[in-house]
Every structure is written in C-alpha cells, then in structure tokens.
C-alpha cells in the first residue's frame, strides 16, 4: 500500500513539475497569503499586547501548530475537496473499478503540493513561537506539541472526508462545510477560549478542535498541569470514525443510485 502511494506520489510530482513556473508562482503566493495573516496578528498585538490572557508569542505558537496540521491535511486529503467533481465526471466509477480501497484511491487521486507554502509559514511561526515563548521545555511538552500537530492534521482530514461524503447526498459539495474547515483555521489562530464558553463547549464536544488546540496548549504553556491534556489530541482523532461512517453510507447510497 505504501509502495503504491509512493508511485502515486511520484506521478503527482511529475505532473506538477510539468508546469514548473505556475507551480513556484503559486507556491510563493500561498506562502505570502498566510504571511499576511501573520502580519495581521503582529499589527494587532502592537495595539493590544494581549488577547484574553495570551501573549503574541503564545498566539504564534498556537497558530503555527494549527497551520501545520491544516496544511498537511490540505496537501494530502485534497482529493475529498474535489470529490463532488469526481462524482460528476465519472472518476469515482473508475475508482470503483479498481481493486483497492476507495478512500485510499481518493486520497491518492490528488496531492496538492502548493500547500508546502502554507506549511513553511506554519513552521516559521512555530519556530518563532518556540524560540520566544517562555516555556520550560521538557519531554512531555514536546510530545504534546507533536500530538497537537498530528491530531490537527487528522481532525482536518476527517473534516475533508466528511465534506467529500456529503457530495454523495447532494451531488455538489456544500459550501457551508467550509465553515468547519477554513473557518476553523481562521478562528483557530487564537486559543479557542477567547471566543467564550459556548464556542469552547461546541469545539470540545461537537467538532473537537479544542482537543487539539486549547487544552493541550494550556498544558504546554504551563497554565494547566493536567497530564490528560497531553493525550486529548489523540482522542480527537476518533472524530474520523463518524466521518468514516457517513462515507460508508454515502458509498452504499451511490452504489444503489448510481449518481
């Protein structure tokens, strides 16, 4: 399976390299786009110094981690973002004609290398945040940061999967799903607690963003010493399960309606 994915990867890389100029221009563009967000945060903190109880450096650390998870998910799970058109142009029939798992094939259908720009931006912010935050680094905190990035990546991928699955029922992607993906990365810049209790509850129990962001972040920053918070990002990965079930129902429906 891994070898096969490697083959797909090299095909996508070759295809992308066919249009080198466009690739690098877009790459820089994508880097700059997220850079403006970075600037936005900087300008705001020149005015306010603190948002709720979080400092500039802490917000950068938080956003850097989220952005890394988000960009990796965008890069590798982008097949689901175009899934409605895959159904419309019959590509999904093609997938069903091949002796491999459907989700695997959709994942392998598209790899969005452009997102490397955003990933770089995430890394820059993370490194800056790490260097300037007054965090007493130890093993469990490092592990927590890694879990946060991985958990974020899985959570966003799951949301893309859910977004794609909806195309089975509506035959067109639903724009409102972007609220949960792009919206999340937009307001995920800041630790979710600043939006108030209602929002935090929603992001804890409905779509578990807070499990990969707010709670473990408080642990990393030493605001909380509850060791459970280290593992919350892994718990958030369970969000894949309901999304996968929706997908299965969708595939079954597709096979019985053919459209």
């Amino acid at each position: 399976m891994l070898k096969l994915y490697g083959k797909y990867f090299s095909i996508h890389l070759k295809s992308t390299m066919q249009y080198k100029g466009s690739f690098f221009a877009t790459l820089i563009g994508s880097f700059l786009t997220s850079f403006t967000v970075f600037l936005g945060i900087s300008f705001m903190f020149q005015r306010f110094h603190k948002v709720a109880e979080f400092s500039y450096e802490e917000v950068l650390l938080c956003y850097g981690i989220m952005l890394m998870g988000f960009s990796v998910a965008q890069m590798f799970a982008s097949g689901f973002k175009v899934f409605d058109s895959m159904i419309a142009n019959g590509e999904f029939d093609r997938i069903l004609c091949r002796p491999r798992n459907e989700i695997f094939q959709v994942l392998a259908y598209r790899i969005d290398f452009i997102r490397v720009g955003m990933l770089l931006q995430g890394i820059v912010m993370l490194v800056y945040g790490l260097a300037s935050c007054y965090v007493d680094w130890n093993f469990s905190r490092v592990i927590t940061v890694i879990f946060m990035a991985v958990g974020g990546c899985v959570l966003f991928s799951a949301l893309f999967l859910l977004d794609g699955s909806i195309a089975f029922f509506t035959l067109q992607g639903l724009e409102f799903m972007n609220v949960f993906t792009y919206g999340a990365i937009e307001h995920g810049k800041y630790p979710l607690s600043i939006y108030g209790k209602g929002m935090l509850t929603f992001c804890t129990f409905v779509i578990p963003y807070a499990l990969v962001q707010y709670y473990p972040l408080t642990y990393v920053l030493g605001r909380s010493d509850n060791p459970l918070f280290i593992f919350l990002p892994l718990l958030a990965c369970l969000f894949v399960v309901p999304c996968w079930i929706v997908w299965r129902i969708g595939v079954r429906r597709y096979k019985s309606t053919g459209s």
Partner: protein
C-alpha cells in the same frame, strides 16, 4: 461464465417543468418519476464468447455494465460472474475484469502513458514478468511504441483509445467490458481497435461484452447479439437473426427498435 437472472433496477428521477418559477417550486416540493432502467434482464454468457450489447440510448446498457462491474447494486435479481457476486466482493471481482469506458479516460493526463501503466501495475499488483510480457505484446499488437512516452493529453482520440484498451488488459482479465470503445474514432483507428479485440478474443479467449451504436462494430465482432430496450432483453441471437429483416444492418436495427417500440 456470466449468469444474470431477472435483474431489476429502478432509478428515482427528480422532474420539474422548465422555468424559474418551477425551479423555485422544486426547492420545496419535488416530483419524482421512476425509471425502470432494468426490468427483469436475464442472460448467460459463456467463457470466451464475444457478445454485442445493443439498444437505443437509455435502454439500460450502461446500467447493466455498471452492475456487472460491481459499481452499481441492483434492486433485485441475481448475477454471478465466475462464482462472484460483483457488488458484494467488489475488490476481488474487479481484479479479474477489465472495463473500458469509451468516453472516459483511465490514463493520467499529464504524464507519459507508460507511467500510467506502471501505476496500474502497482494497483493491480501485477507480477513484473507478466507486466513486461503484456506491455511488449500489447505494444506490438496495438502499435503503441511511439505513444508510450507521450503524455496522454497530447494523444489523439484514436491513439488514446488504443492506450486505454492496453491499460485495461495489463492484469490479464478473463472478462472485458467495453462501453462504446469506438465512439468518435476515425476509420483507421476503428479498424485497428476492432482487429485487436477480435484477436484478443481468439488468442486469449477473453470474454468480451461490448456496447456500441456502431453496427459495423457488431458486424465485425459479435457472433451473438443481445438487444435491450426499455430495460428488457428483446432479442438474443446471432447476427443472422438480425439480418433476416433486410440487407443493411443499420436499417434493420432501426426497424427492430420501432417494432419493439423502444425508440
């Protein structure tokens, strides 16, 4: 061996009148009509047979092919292909069949054809010797030597179709479904494709089920013909059975469509 018994498939189709007002109305209240794409289809195709599957547009040809290749689940009826139920054991089933959709591509657009083949090799887990042998053979038979290094997007339709067919045969399928393989091809490519399918059937004894609107395809290839209309098999016989009505096959088939009232 393909055994199909009393397959039924009904689609629910949303329907509305033209016009903006109707479109708004349809947002809240939809009217559906039911289309019986397959209305009790039964047939049996033995190993190594070559069968032409014809019928007017919307008769149920594509639905049948989709069911046989495991993409679609029927409402009722039985279908057994070499002992497998296509929609129940999809992955196992599709390993043994090849499917060519004339209007869609399975080649990767931006990379040379041979890269697509290499990927198919991995997808189907084809052993290297088998793969090499098949590529060599197919290259020779379909005259692909000049094409393999070209990206698919730069191929003409005829060249691409030859590559498509080759791609669907790399894993030695015992059964090949061809959905309008000659659509839009020029005379030379059509002949090449027909010739190849014929040899494939004779030399490898691959079972071929082919849908087409081109009666010359049928004349050249199929010894047996299934005629479907309005979801029912209307005629199962040889080319001679169809020819009986007149000399020119296109007219005869049009006559048949009219006779069965399926146009």
């Amino acid at each position: 061996m393909i055994e199909v018994q009393d397959l039924r498939k009904t689609f629910k189709v949303a329907r509305r009148e033209a016009g903006f007002g109707q479109a708004v109305k349809a947002l809240f209240h939809r009217e559906y009509t039911y289309v019986h794409a397959l209305d009790g289809v039964s047939f049996r195709i033995g190993d190594g047979e070559m069968v032409g599957y014809i019928g007017p547009n919307g008769a149920g040809k594509s639905s049948t092919i989709k069911i046989l290749s495991g993409i679609l689940t029927p409402d009722s009826g039985k279908c057994l292909i070499d002992g497998r139920i296509p929609w129940k054991s999809r992955q196992k089933h599709v390993k043994e069949i090849g499917v060519v959709f004339g209007q869609r591509t399975q080649l990767w657009w931006d990379v040379p054809v041979v890269d697509s083949f290499e990927l198919l090799k991995e997808i189907y887990a084809i052993p290297t010797e088998v793969y090499k042998k098949n590529v060599d053979q197919l290259t020779e038979l379909l005259d692909l030597a000049q094409l393999l290094r070209t990206p698919a997007r730069q191929l003409s339709l005829g060249q691409r179709m030859r590559c498509e067919i080759a791609g669907s045969l790399l894993h030695n399928p015992k059964i090949l479904f061809l959905d309008e393989p000659t659509i839009g091809l020029d005379a030379v490519s059509k002949l090449a494709v027909r010739d190849f399918i014929k040899r494939l059937n004779q030399e490898r004894h691959t079972t071929v089920l082919l849908t087409t609107h081109d009666m010359q395809d049928i004349e050249a290839l199929a010894s047996r013909i299934l005629l479907i209309g309005k979801g029912k098999i209307l005629l199962d016989g040889s080319l001679e059975d169809i020819r009986r009505g007149g000399s020119h096959i296109d007219e005869t088939v049009a006559e048949l469509y009219k006779k069965f009232d399926v146009t």
